[in-house]
């Protein structure tokens, strides 16, 4: 019997019909007005002038180059943060050391920094007046207002995603299975590959999905370091802004609808992975670790 039906069957845990109707009505209208309507409006505004106009808008050369840059930034940021996430959670959950809580807090840090500040810090380090700015300038390397700056800002804002999914998961799974593997003679790599990785694969995928969504959608941080050079340093979200500010609303919403589609795909993938994760953490061997 599902949790909800258990609650609904007991008089002690269910509300009078009128109260229940009121709660459902209030919460679902709030959901509808504040979450659903903005999503729907993206698609209706995008298709406002018809399908032909829509496709013309999303196949414009500037939009294409924005897509390429967005894909490039995500293709660099996601794998790097994936490797980091696995290394960090291995160190944190398989070993005991002083300063572990501090380390976990520091890993979470980029989440609590305003995106604008995330961009600013790279301008301070690599900008023309920054610490290494003159060295890069002398060697004719551009970081800020160029592609490397966009990639760096993207890595920063997506930094914690994989690590913060894996740390609680691996913590809950404990060390017994890996210890058994080690006792049976597996080396470190074999232990990781055959024991740890199969256990964490859904959690890992979950982190990657969220990391990728943010990497492709980041606006504030990338906006600060990009310099908005059309066809060169524009990502898809920045292209949306430019089109919007030029009063080219239909095109702006057409490009935005691509990102909204990506968000919907992300949510579907996320729900599927969540369901798999739940199925696996309900398996008896893991439950002991949780309790």
């Amino acid at each position: 019997m599902s949790l909800t039906t258990r609650f609904e069957r007991s008089a002690a845990t269910s509300e009078p019909v009128l109260i229940k109707a009121l709660i459902l009505c209030l919460s679902l209208s709030f959901f509808g007005v504040f979450l659903l309507l903005p999503l729907l409006s993206v698609f209706t505004e995008a298709l406002h002038k018809g399908v032909i106009y829509y496709f013309r808008a999303i196949t414009e050369p500037d939009t294409w180059s924005a897509m390429q840059l967005t894909l490039l930034a995500a293709a660099i940021a996601v794998p790097l943060n994936l490797i980091f996430g696995v290394a960090a959670s291995w160190a944190i959950t398989k070993f005991d050391f002083v300063g572990k809580h501090l380390l976990i807090t520091l890993i979470d840090l980029p989440f609590s920094v305003s995106p604008v500040i995330a961009g600013l810090i790279f301008v301070l380090v690599f900008g023309a007046q920054g610490w290494f700015g003159s060295w890069f300038l002398d060697n004719d390397l551009k970081i800020i207002f160029a592609v490397p700056g966009i990639v760096l800002a993207t890595i920063f804002v997506t930094f914690p995603f994989v690590a913060r999914e894996l740390i609680p998961l691996m913590e809950a799974q404990g060390r017994e299975e890996e210890e058994a593997a080690a006792v049976l003679g597996a080396n470190g790599w074999q232990t990781f590959w055959y024991v740890t990785l199969p256990n964490i694969k859904w959690g890992l995928l979950y982190g990657v999905i969220l990391c990728n969504a943010r990497a492709m959608g980041e606006f504030g941080a990338v906006s600060v370091v990009s310099g908005h050079i059309r066809g060169y340093t524009n990502t898809i979200p920045l292209q949306v802004e430019i089109l919007y500010n030029e009063y080219n609303y239909v095109a702006a919403f057409a490009v935005a609808s691509l990102l909204a589609l990506l968000a919907l795909i992300t949510l579907i993938a996320k729900s599927y992975v969540e369901w798999r994760l739940k199925k696996e953490t309900n398996a008896p061997s893991v439950i002991e670790g949780v309790v």
Partner: protein, 279 residues
């Protein structure tokens, strides 16, 4: 500081921790320390002058005030939504549950232009409100709408798992002892949810204070009226006033750090109350 106490039989401690620390330093710690070091180029009086101009103070008041208000609204409706999702059966529940995370997945620029279109005079919502004399877009209320959007999932997603784990026997016991439904909610359920509610509120608040993309399109960005602090940082950067931008950024960073510490404390408290591991 980071020393292994040798009770683990696994290899790779030095490698994994070393890599973690180096990567963390290069991507996060060194760049962030630039904010602190850059600010030291200002003398204390000029630092204080830079962060207390009327325009900056007005933006602090606006950013924090609206983040607080949005957090409180989300606290109430987030609890209602979490309650409905855990305890009631209704049509489309799975879709609603999945879409709660939309603000995490939807890029902020998309949110921004969608909200601006909805609440402007020709928009679906703006059109309804205009005859009533209510303007949302391009006023401080537009900021509130954007901050409600981005903050909602924080509250729902911290409250929902705790609500799922509350034993229904607790409420049955309360009812059998003569408590009314309202009493068992306020005296039994709410105290268990309190740490999670506060955590969700703090997460939503922290995110809202620094939010940029979803706000600027709908805010109107009028100095002293609807100009948020992150926008002032960007404006100063565009005028090459790096020291001024960094000074304001430092104030925001310190507040974010305090919020992060508060959130960690709240999560530890919540874990202790409910016996759960940290999320």
């Amino acid at each position: 500081m980071f020393t292994n106490n040798k009770n683990s039989i696994f290899p790779g401690f030095g490698l994994s921790l070393g890599y973690t620390l180096v990567y963390l330093s290069i991507i996060v710690l060194v760049p962030l320390s630039a904010v602190v070091l850059k600010t030291t180029s200002l003398s204390l009086p000029s630092f204080i002058a830079a962060v207390t101009t009327p325009r900056v103070l007005a933006s602090f008041q606006l950013s924090f005030g609206m983040a607080l208000l949005a957090g409180l609204i989300n606290l109430f409706f987030g609890l209602l939504l979490a309650w409905a999702l855990v305890r009631y059966t209704f049509f489309g529940k799975n879709v609603v549950d999945a879409l709660i995370d939309l603000p995490f997945a939807l890029p902020t620029a998309v949110t921004g232009i969608a909200l601006a279109a909805l609440y402007s005079k020709n928009g679906w919502i703006g059109k309804q409100l205009e005859p009533l004399g209510i303007n949302i877009a391009f006023t401080p209320w537009g900021i509130l709408v954007a901050l409600i959007f981005i903050g909602l999932p924080f509250v729902v997603r911290t409250v929902q798992p705790i609500l799922e784990e509350i034993e229904l026997e607790l409420e049955e016991a309360a009812a059998s002892l003569g408590a009314s439904r309202w009493q068992s909610f306020t005296k039994v359920v709410l105290p268990i949810l309190l740490p999670a509610l506060l955590t969700g509120f703090a997460l939503a608040f922290a995110r809202a204070v620094g939010e940029y993309g979803s706000v600027i399109f709908i805010a109107g960005n009028i100095p002293m009226v609807s100009e948020i602090t992150p926008l002032i940082i960007i404006t100063k950067l565009e005028q090459y006033d790096y020291a001024g931008a960094t000074a304001i950024a430092l104030v925001m960073l310190i507040i974010s750090l305090l919020l992060l510490l508060a959130i960690n404390g709240l999560q530890a408290w919540s874990a202790k109350q409910t016996g759960r591991t940290r999320q």
